[in-house]
Amino acid sequence: MSFEPKILAFLCNWCSYGAADMAGTSRLQYPSNIRIIRFMCSGRIDPNFVIEAFLRGADGVMITGCHIGDCHYIDGNYKTVHRYEFLKEYLDTLGIGSERLTLEWCSAAEGMKFSQKVTEFTERIRKLGPSPIKGDEQ
């Protein structure tokens, strides 16, 4: 059986969750590997959540938020960018690999972009294969 990656996505309530909803109303098909957790702001995404996801068995993690300058909470997504850079380094250090994490900006009107980014990221992780630390948590 071919490898089906497990992908976790963190979405902000205002823009990217709206984009995911719109992908739905527009019936834009994308791979079913993704599971979504909603936060009010991408700035809320504690690095612990990302690490936890990989420890639990995620093969890839996607973070999405409002476009830079459009954050509902003024500048939460600037903090997300910094955290993303830090997390990528950290994932390399841990041997998980920074390519398993991605950050995308989607406005509430960008259902198409959301579905495309999910499709691309799923394909990327599918090619990378299972997360190297999978099973380590047991």
């Binding site: 995911a20 909803d21 527009s26 019936r27 098909q29 599971r35 957790i37 702001c41 995404i45």
Partner: protein, 997 residues
């Protein structure tokens, strides 16, 4: 004296009006002639162009109307008399019997299963039947069936009576009689809607004679999961799925033969929608639409049309005749006006896209209230441009499709506009009552899981029954069920009953998006005595069934995962309580065109202080570049009059040559830094109305340049206004800088304003040679009359194709155009060639979008909270949009939206407080190490050091709940209510606990 209002008609317009009035504390009597509220929208499968499930977005609305204590719903009721009184109107109502006791009936439907008499409902013949005791549609409200007296065996012959025998509640009452009831109200909003034309007198199409010729409304019922065929599109003749379907546009509209010269405005779009839905049901089906012009003039419509071209065949031509063929197939004879060929083609089903026509009672009501109707039989507002919803009676308003074909968005705008005008009339408004939310109940979690089929939107793509069985096995789940529509009255009743019966203290609803339906289900929890924050939603529709619709097994598996994730979080939910925020009683209106001025005047009438901010040195926006309107209004004069009213008002401050430079704060207390000629002014306001209009597209994007004889629409208008035109030959080129690669959307108003230009020109110079080069003439609604008028007066219309834009030779003063209807290249001389430009978002829009962090749609205009049901709201509480900054539109529509936005702002500000969602940060003093990192990270300065200096504390009123502080806290001392670390971690863990293979 408290204000009271009668709203007549309970379709989307009437319900919107009733709910908005009640929100601000006005007592409403919602009068409906049928047995249920909901109107046409409740019978639609989907809405265009977003393809939202119609009943799903409407159900929460209907329930909100039903549960609002300020609204009395009077169904099966007609107005039979009206006379003026001291406070407004004395109405005489006739209440027809339902024969079912509304207090006793529980909506169990046992009676319906026992009734022997089958009947068919309007638009559902011959596909399905209901019983003589029935609901008009599944989600009807009140959720009490009624007996069709003309078909009930007991009422006609005195036999049967099964329903009464089998009703446990003793709710059937054959003795009910018609009642005549008086009602006195201070204002009346007529929202009686329109009805789909029944094309029996269009003999050539054979409707009524040929079994497989149906109307679009009938197809809509077939498509609907709760319709007569449960969502299966079948032929009436043999029950087979049609494979080759034709849609014919303009049946009963743009048709002087049947006396309906107007364009019915909505049919092009609903036709495309239904065509796409047919394709969605059966991807193998071939679908053809016959059209004259595709009038995709509305927000997102052109894009919807362009996308549809991939899967739908569009043929330009109006079929002359349909003949029945062997096996009840249908032969259509038509001329393709693009190839000039006469063709006969066979189809196995034909759908007639019929017009909206006035309801029967329109005429009677117009006589009763002494208001006008137009020559097509729709209500006529007193002044089309400046008061599009007013009538000649001060306290009677006409809104929605009863004044002409209107889409849902326009109906909603008009309704809230009438509401605003009701607010500003004399009389008092009852103050809102504050309510306290229920607290925690029960110690150990007892979770109920409610899985929605959403008609076929989930049920068709996911094994819902399997999901329910799975949910029953999850920890702490004591109950799980599925329902056709969980958001319907029945669905919610089941949630409420189960909460009580099973002592549930947490609820998981697996359905659609919390962004649209969380409030609805929270209300159900409150009514059952649970705190509304004990609800968790799993978005199994938008995130699963709709986006994995070709992978049944995977979608079912994912649905289980989503339910498991929600149950995991639900186990840790805690009650939360709303916060009341004071609202500054001052509104800022940004933009001083027609829209901004109308909003400002309306807000002042409603008793609020207003600051109007305009970047130019004078008010009026684009008024001076518009010509005399059809109703005789001269826009410049109207603008001047409005500007004078603004100046006279003591409540309005006008800031000219001023711009907003910075925005702080949230609903209730915004602070705008406004740069004025006298320096920076700080404006503190509770709400903001944005009305920044549009700019014109650049002619260069269509490859043109202007000269003395090649002029823009704006230049032409001012030349007409000044009487400076001296030529004889005029060419107008439409869609300049519109519907092209750069601006793919349709700007909506330019066809209309171009026709107005031509009309004014021909009035001034009847002998002028006028040629209009167009792609589609989008003369929607009554603008069709203008189109016909100028055609009759000699304006020559030539259709061009965007691949071959007309070529202008400035030196020779000729235009070369390839005429697609005669397949010839024509050369036309001109003295003036007018470039009719499309619209782009204005500079102000682009700037404010950044300052307010607002979303825009792909065309760059502001995104509304919901295209259909909340066109004036934005994602930002307390910020409203109106006029052309939302989407390009004409003066009349812009003014309607302006008044309507004022209505929304008045509701938000009325009562002086605003309930904010209780998602905030809190700090565990014992864990906090007082590092102040959170203080640095908080965008709202909502954290401070405690007085004793050993830990941080949250200033709750300032906190917006984004959670950025929590993500940075090194000692995990910060909790975000509703999204705690523990809750989200459990949700995350749950993803990997099941088999996500």
């Amino acid at each position: 004296m408290n204000k009271t209002a009668a709203v007549v008609g309970a379709g989307i317009s009437g319900m919107q009006a009733a709910l908005s009035l009640a929100e601000r504390g006005v007592k409403v009597y919602l009068i409906e002639k049928t047995s249920s509220i909901g109107g046409i929208m409740a019978r639609l499968d989907k809405t265009m162009p977003t393809l939202d499930c119609s009943i799903c977005i409407l159900s929460p609305f209907m329930l909100a109307v039903d549960r609002n204590p300020m609204i009395d719903i009077l169904t099966l009721t007609d107005i039979i008399g009206a006379e003026k009184s001291d406070i407004g109107y004395k109405l005489t109502l006739r209440k027809r019997p339902r024969y079912v006791d509304m207090d006793k009936c529980t909506g169990c439907r046992d009676c319906m299963s026992k009734c022997p008499k089958k009947i068919t409902l309007e638009h559902e013949e011959p596909f399905g039947t209901v019983k003589a005791i029935h609901f008009d549609f599944d989600q009807a409200i009140p959720a009490v069936p009624y007996i069709d007296a003309e078909n009930c065996l007991m009422l006609i012959k005195g036999t049967c009576g099964n329903c009464a025998k089998f009703c446990d509640k003793d709710a059937i009452d054959f003795e009910q009689k018609e009642e005549i009831v008086p009602l006195e109200v201070s204002s009346v909003i007529l929202a009686t809607g329109a009805r789909p034309y029944i094309p029996l007198d269009r003999m050539e199409y054979g409707y009524g004679r040929y079994k497989n010729v149906i109307t679009a409304m009938e197809l809509e019922r077939l498509l609907s999961a709760s319709g007569p065929t449960e969502g299966n599109v079948v032929r009436a003749s043999d029950g087979k799925e049609p494979k080759n379907i034709a849609f014919i546009n303009c049946v009963g509209s743009r048709d002087l033969k049947t006396g309906r010269g107007y364009c019915s405005k909505v049919c092009c779009m609903y036709g495309i929608k239904e065509a796409l839905l047919v394709k969605d049901h059966d991807p193998g089906a071939n679908v053809t639409i016959f059209y004259i012009d595709i009038r995709a003039s509305g927000k997102g419509y052109e894009e919807f049309f362009q996308n549809a071209k991939d899967s739908i065949r569009f043929v330009r031509g109006r079929p002359g005749e349909i003949l029945e063929h062997e096996g009840n197939d249908l032969l259509i004879r038509y001329e393709n006006t693009e190839t000039q060929e006469v063709i006969e083609e066979c189809f196995d089903m034909v759908v007639l896209n019929t017009a909206l026509v006035p309801c029967e009672e329109t005429q009677q009501l117009s006589e009763m209230f002494d208001i006008s109707v137009n020559n097509y039989g729709f209500f006529m507002p007193s002044k089309d441009i400046s008061c599009p919803i007013d009538t000649k009676q001060d306290n009677v308003f006409v809104v929605g499709a009863c004044q002409g074909p209107n889409d849902i968005t326009d109906c909603v705008s008009q309704s809230i506009g009438a509401v605003s005008k009701t607010f500003s009339m004399k009389g008092d408004i009852k103050q809102k009552e504050k309510r306290s939310l229920p607290g925690a109940s029960g110690k150990d979690p007892r979770i109920g899981v409610f899985v929605c089929h959403c008609g076929k939107n989930i049920g068709k793509y996911v094994d819902v029954k399997d999901v329910v069985e799975y949910a029953k096995k999850l920890p702490d789940v004591v109950y799980a069920e599925d329902s056709l529509f969980t958001c319907s009255d029945q669905g919610q009743k089941s949630i409420k009953d189960t909460i009580k019966k099973e002592k549930l203290n947490r609820v998981v609803v697996a359905a659609c998006s919390p962004k649209t339906h969380e409030n609805t289900f929270q209300e159900a929890l409150i009514e059952a005595g649970l705190n509304p924050y004990m609800l968790e939603m799993a978005n199994i529709r938008n995130q699963c069934s709709w986006v994995h619709s070709k992978q049944y097994d995977l979608a079912t598996q994912k649905t289980k995962d989503l339910v498991r994730m929600s149950v995991a979080k639900a186990r840790l939910l805690e009650p939360l309580y709303q916060r009341e925020v004071d609202v500054v009683q001052h509104v800022a209106v940004i933009g001083g065109g027609f829209t901004g001025m109308a909003s400002a005047l309306e807000m002042a009438k409603n008793g609020f202080r207003v600051s109007l901010i305009e970047r130019e040195s004078k008010l009026g926006g684009k008024a001076s570049v518009t010509n005399k309107q059809k109703d005789g209004t001269i826009p410049e004069e109207l603008a001047e009059m409005m500007a004078n009213h603004l100046e006279e008002s003591n409540n309005i401050s006008v800031f000219l040559s001023s711009e907003v430079e910075n925005v702080e704060g949230f609903v209730g207390d915004f602070i705008l830094d406004v740069s004025t000629p006298n320096g920076i002014e700080k404006i503190e306001c509770g709400t903001v109305i944005i009305a920044t209009g549009f700019d014109s597209a650049d002619v260069k994007s269509s490859g043109y340049t202007t000269s003395e004889s090649v002029i823009t629409d704006e230049k032409f208008s001012s030349m007409v206004n000044c009487g400076m035109l001296d030529g004889k030959n005029y060419v107008f080129i439409l869609c300049v800088g519109a519907r092209n690669e750069q601006n793919p959307y349709c700007s909506k108003f330019c066809c209309i304003s171009s026709l107005n230009h031509v009309r004014c020109l021909l009035e001034d110079k009847p002998d002028a040679n006028v040629t209009v080069l167009y792609r589609d003439i989008r003369a929607y609604g009554y603008h069709e009359d203008t189109y016909r008028e100028v055609s009759e007066k000699g304006a020559n219309f030539i259709r061009y194709s965007p691949e071959m834009m007309p070529h202008i030779d400035i030196d020779k003063k000729v235009v070369e155009v390839y005429d697609t209807t005669s397949s010839k290249t024509r050369t036309i001389e001109f003295d003036y060639c007018v470039l009719e430009r499309g619209a782009i978002p204005s500079k102000g829009t682009t700037k404010l979008r950044k300052l307010f962090k607002m979303s825009v749609v792909s065309s760059g205009f502001f995104a509304e909270a919901h295209l259909k049901l909340a066109p004036l709201d934005t994602a930002l509480d307390g910020v409203f949009i109106a006029g052309s900054c939302q989407y390009p539109k004409g003066i009349s529509e812009a003014i309607t939206q302006a008044v309507s936005a004022a209505g929304r702002a008045s509701i938000a500000m009325g009562g002086g407080t605003y309930s904010a969602i209780p998602i905030t940060a809190s700090i565990d003093e014992n864990k906090c190490i007082a590092c102040k990192l959170c203080m640095d990270m908080c965008p709202y300065k909502a954290l401070q050091m405690s007085e004793n200096g050993i830990h941080m504390e949250v200033i709750t009123v300032s906190c917006k709940g984004c959670g950025t502080c929590a993500a940075f806290c090194p000692s995990n001392a910060i909790t975000i209510s509703g999204f705690t670390y523990k809750q989200e971690k459990e949700k995350l863990k749950a993803i990997f606990e099941g088999s996500m293979e």
